[in-house]
């Protein structure tokens, strides 16, 4: 099934889905959060050897987030990108880690970096971050990393730098 045919099938089935880009090679759909599991089930049934590439988060400012899913089907050379728009201080979306187990860690990383909760995920511990950054969601735009605003991040203060090179305290 070519990319456009698949996208048309989804758009016809679920009216809330908005297509943003439709070519045979790349398809970009905006999907509401409640429908993501159904759409992912559809793509898994239509393309048995589909390769799940990425689940990533994106912080559009003002507490608006986007979760982007990218799948690739090699047989039909078709790259499929789904976007889910979320809002709120603690956004929630369903997990797809039971359909594609390889995405379990991608979801875990998105959760710890952006604070997006994946409902039904078996294990949402911290994956990459050290323990002191739990709950800080470093990839959000409001997590500042310049030293002047270090106190906002909750991290411990570093040792003061010596005034001249060569003098150590």
């Amino acid at each position: 099934m070519s990319g456009t045919a698949f996208a048309r099938m989804i758009v016809n089935k679920y009216q809330e889905v908005e297509p943003k880009l439709l070519t045979d090679e790349k398809v970009d759909l905006v999907i509401p959060a409640s429908l993501i599991r159904d759409v992912v089930h559809l793509i898994e049934e239509s393309y048995p050897l589909i390769f799940p590439e990425i689940i990533m988060g994106l912080d559009l400012e003002d507490d608006k987030y986007e979760v982007i899913y990218i799948f690739w089907s090699r047989e039909t050379n078709f790259l499929c990108q789904f976007r889910v728009l979320l809002e709120g201080a603690t956004p929630v979306v369903d997990t797809i880690s039971d359909i594609f187990p390889g995405m379990e860690w991608h979801e875990r990383e998105t959760c710890e970096m952006f604070g997006i909760d994946f409902k039904g995920h078996p294990d949402l511990r911290l994956l990459l971050l050290p323990d002191e950054l739990e709950g800080k969601y470093p990839l959000r735009k409001r997590f500042k990393t310049d030293r002047s605003r270090l106190s906002e991040s909750g991290l411990p203060q570093p040792k003061p730098r010596p005034p001249r090179g060569g003098d150590s305290q």
């Binding site: 048995p48 050897l49 390769f51 590439e53 594609f100 187990p101 860690w105 991608h106 990459l128």
Partner: protein
């Protein structure tokens, strides 16, 4: 220590301080000699590359990507450059395209030689650790002759490459390839025909294509199952020269278990990869035309990029690596750069592959999937 120690479940941290744990800590639950549960823990190498990229210019960004996987530096920086070139609308000149492809394949060969050495060391044979590493030195000499640096050479730049081929650098590269080809029969003898290797790796860590794809494995790990999944041929990238070459995707078809691959198959697969890379380089070397090595508009255009989103991908040594890039208008650095490292899914798949095998096989399974912690921790 109770006498029932062999029937109790013992938790063992194959921890961050371990001779062959190159930056991972896996919690294994053992009953006797069998692993019952495997809980991989990543995060010991995390350097927040994605956040760092948001504060670097587009030219500086590729340096961060390079250092994620030092062994395949030329390959690792390409997805980012590809995404930047897509957004900025840069056209890579022909000479740069071919040079990029040649150096990427040379990097692939040298990375695979490193992997052999590491895998053999984990299996207890130090002879086969040092022989590939000695041949790898010739490749590092070639990189040094071309760029001045052995490893992370910062070779690519948006719109082309930074260092031009000279006669001497081409000669050193050809010498490295010729030397390696002469050593390949010896390596094949020592590894593939060595009965102790077969005994150690046959039947270990077996999975089939569908399972592998679901877990997110890619690259040689899937090609060893018999499916020719290779981004170099599946997708026609206009910034690389793979379409100029007549070559076949190296795929290993196993006779004992078609459609599945075990550790032995993945080793054979990587021999085939090197042969394919050599073929590509040999065909491309005479085809290098004269011309500029970087897009003349790159200097003007790659400073401030228009708004856009792009997705750059590369078939790395260990699998499919990609960078998803989003920029805002006239920005000097990306708004969001997401890096996909192939080894994240390799490390994850251990959760499913390892339980049921013996303790001594853990390292064989993991080593055969070619892990590199820079790629999953970023």
């Amino acid at each position: 220590m109770s006498p029932d120690i062999l029937d109790e479940a013992v938790e063992l941290w194959f921890g961050p301080q371990h001779v062959s744990a190159h930056g991972w800590a896996t919690k294994l639950t053992l009953v006797g000699d069998y692993i019952v549960e495997c809980d991989p823990n990543a995060g010991y190498f995390h350097r927040s590359a994605e956040k760092c990229l948001e504060f670097r210019t587009f030219k500086q960004g590729s340096l961060i990507l390079e250092r994620l996987c030092m062994l395949e530096a030329f390959l690792a920086e390409y997805p980012y450059l590809s995404a930047v070139e897509q957004i900025a609308g840069l056209e890579v000149p022909e000479r740069a395209k071919i040079m990029r492809t040649i150096m990427m394949e040379a990097c692939r060969i040298h990375s695979l030689q490193f992997w052999w050495g590491q895998f053999s060391a984990e299996l207890g044979m130090f002879t086969m650790t040092l022989w590939p590493w000695i041949d790898r030195e010739y490749f590092l000499d070639a990189f040094e002759e071309l760029t001045g640096s052995r490893h992370a050479a910062a070779y690519g730049t948006p719109g082309g490459v930074k260092y031009d081929f000279t006669e001497k650098s081409v000669k050193v590269l050809e010498h490295a390839i010729a030397h390696m080809e002469s050593q390949m029969p010896k390596f094949k003898d020592m590894i593939l025909h060595n009965p102790s290797f077969k005994v150690r790796t046959k039947g270990i860590g077996q999975y089939d294509v569908k399972q592998g794809l679901k877990w997110g494995l890619s690259g040689p790990n899937i090609r060893a199952c018999g499916t020719p999944m290779d981004l170099r041929q599946d997708v026609n990238d206009p910034n690389l020269a793979y379409d100029m070459v007549d070559w076949e995707v190296p795929t290993f078809h196993s006779e004992d278990h078609p459609g599945e691959s075990d550790a032995f198959d993945r080793m054979v697969q990587r021999f085939l990869e090197i042969e394919a890379s050599v073929k590509i380089i040999r065909q491309l070397l005479p085809l290098v035309p004269d011309g500029p090595i970087v897009d003349p508009k790159a200097r003007a255009k790659s400073n401030r990029l228009p708004a856009g989103e792009a997705y750059g991908r590369i078939e790395g040594t260990r699998g499919l690596a990609s960078v998803w890039l989003k920029t805002t208008d006239k920005a000097q650095s990306p708004y969001r750069a997401k890096i996909r490292g192939p080894c994240l899914n390799s490390y994850y798949s251990l959760k499913h592959l390892v339980p049921g095998s013996k303790f001594a096989d853990f390292i064989v399974i993991f080593g055969s999937l070619d892990p590199y912690p820079g790629w999953w921790d970023r």
